[in-house]
Symmetry: C2
């Protein structure tokens, strides 16, 4: 492996974040990179940037719902619009930060399981018990995951992560920073891929 | 040629609209389609949808300027951020509607010339005299183009076009509708291409 890791910022309520999560590890690996999975809270970020959940924007909202599903089909990814949407993502984000301690691969593994539980199985992963159960099924200690959601140290860690995302200029999900270069949206994966293959352009 | 034309909605102040304008005719032709070039006014559309010029959104603004230029390089398209930005696009939009009367190819030709004058040469095409001169250099009657900007019938035509765009669900630029299917942004040209090649997915 060479080159710095891809900084992959995502919110668990973001359909495009979910789609990107299915592709990012393979894309990085193809170019000898690893991925740093960095959950954040778009609701907090939006307070800085004036953003709003796509589905709540007039006219753009209905288009977005159509585009989520069409984009999933285009990329060959299973997707169902969750019955509860959007959700506050504190619980799953904290579980990822907990799983990440000393185990970068664990963060990716539990994050993918949580995303799938939400965007395929329709589970409300904003509920700590639900999120912990999903972590348990993914091979983690469910009771420890559940405790992590209320752990002050983990809560602090998430606050610091959200602040770090804002400081890094993150304003949406997914958002990838590599070699200091920002790429917003899964629709910039084509440009991200060129960057990884050939460097700055 | 078979199949209905691509409805290509664009605003002259839109960098991504300019980039899309360099690709849309060839993309359509590859799939036996034509393009209906439909200038509209994003400022009026934004009043319906609560949108705002990208460059004026906090945090997203600086990223967007970086992304305009990077996207142009990625697609191999000449681009310079214009000194005056954004601009009200009434004058160039009216000239396109004037050129379009009985001449669909004329609309594309003058629209590309106007876009290039703005996003390559940095001319302020919101000025009627400037826009008319650009039309003149593109092979149109400059005096007639200048008169069209103040022609009440052409003004009415643009108002109707903007209303039609809003009624069709357009909320950004570029925006393509084909066979009733909406595609927002040049970053959906990959999905648009699949639609043209294989039909609904």
């Amino acid at each position: 492996m060479s080159g710095s890791p891809l900084q992959f910022f995502f919110d668990f309520s973001s359909p495009y974040g979910y789609l990107a999560a299915q592709k990012i590890d393979a894309l990085a690996a193809q170019h000898g990179r690893t991925v740093d999975w960095r959950p954040m809270l778009l609701g907090v970020v939006f307070k800085q940037t004036g953003g709003a959940p796509l589905t709540e924007v007039p006219v753009k909202g209905p288009y977005s719902k159509h585009d989520f599903a069409r984009s999933a089909r285009f990329h060959g990814i299973e997707f169902r619009m969750p019955p509860v949407f959007p959700i506050p993502a504190q619980a799953p984000a904290r579980i990822v930060l907990w799983a990440k301690q000393g185990n970068a691969a664990g963060a990716a593994q539990v994050a993918k399981a949580l995303y799938r539980a939400y965007f395929v199985d329709g589970l409300d992963i904003s509920q700590p018990d639900v999120a912990a159960e999903v972590a348990g099924r993914a091979g983690f200690d469910a009771a420890a995951a559940r405790a992590a959601v209320d752990d002050p140290a983990i809560k602090d860690a998430l606050r610091r992560e959200v602040e770090a995302a804002i400081a890094a200029g993150v304003f949406g999900s997914p958002f990838v920073i590599v070699d200091g270069e920002p790429f917003w949206g899964m629709d910039r994966f084509d440009q991200l891929e060129r960057w990884l293959a050939r460097g700055p352009f």
